[in-house]
Amino acid sequence: MKKLLIFFITILFFFISSSAYAQEFNFKKAYEDYLFNFNKYRESHGEYVTAKEAYSSYKTLTSKNTAKEKTAKLLLNEDEVIRTYLTAIRLKLSETTGISNYEQNVIYLKLDKEVTLYLTHQDSVNVAGDLEDLVKLAQENKENYKATETLSYQTLGSIFASKEINLRNKLNGQITLLKDKLGEIRQKGNKQTAKAERWLLEAENRLLKSQEKEFEAQQILSQIKTTDRYKNKDYNEAQYLFEQSHQYLKEASSQLQEVIREIKTAD
């Protein structure tokens, strides 16, 4: 009896702790993790700069050892910042519902691959023999990060696209409902529908324009190359197009409100 009770308590404990963990690890938590690691990175960067200066000036074995220690610490924190950042944007994407599961999974795979890359890099830093090895590993990270930046911008683009698609789908749903209702009113013949239908058409046009702008933005992001020096310039351009796309959605929403007003008003 006593054993059975202990068994049940253990099961209950594991169930509660695992479900609590599953509930807790969301974008908010991942973002906090990222900020925490970014602060650690900044601190270690300061220490690295000081150690680098000391080694450059004194050239002693002690200063070299300190430089090695601080560089390793910096690289480990750098990997951790990137890893937690990628996790944060992965979770942000998972919270949006606009893009297809397939598209989402493709991005997840890419992000997971990057995360593994930085974890492996951390292992290499931990076993690095001397300062020269660490410098080589830093160069490796510099190259890796170019691809990571590209993927990050593309993921952010997918997050924005997902938001826009979700809102557009919602507006499209309302257009369908209004079309049905206007069809019903037209059949009954107790109210003119031409004006409302014109507004509805305008709203549909705005949704199309919004989609066009979103495609343009996605196009720009998909063309960012790893070797591009000013990736953020393309990203800003894409972001501007997303904003334009969003503006069209706002206009469509206003036009749907006009349709409602028109239906509610007598001829």
Partner: protein, 110 residues
Amino acid sequence: MKIKISKKILILFSSIFGTTLIALLIVAIIFGFKQTKVDLLEKKIEEVVTPTPEEVQEISNPSPYANDLIILKIEQDIKKINKELQETDLKEASLNPPLLDMNIEFEVKD
């Protein structure tokens, strides 16, 4: 050694002490009551829900569909979408890739 205190002084002292105590008690009760009243009043003020001026469009000549349940539901849903549209953040500036110093190198000065 015994200290003799006259009965008169004792009565005088007790009455002063007693009066002060009663006076303090009265002040405390009055102040406390006032405070409670103010608190209650403040709570009442807090409880009063300020009416949010919802954009109610007065329709002077309503159609037969002015109170149609489907239309009212669509209207409500569009308002919700509109709110979502206004609140959507398409910058997410905090999610830009972190700026990191990738130039880790050592130059030994001569």
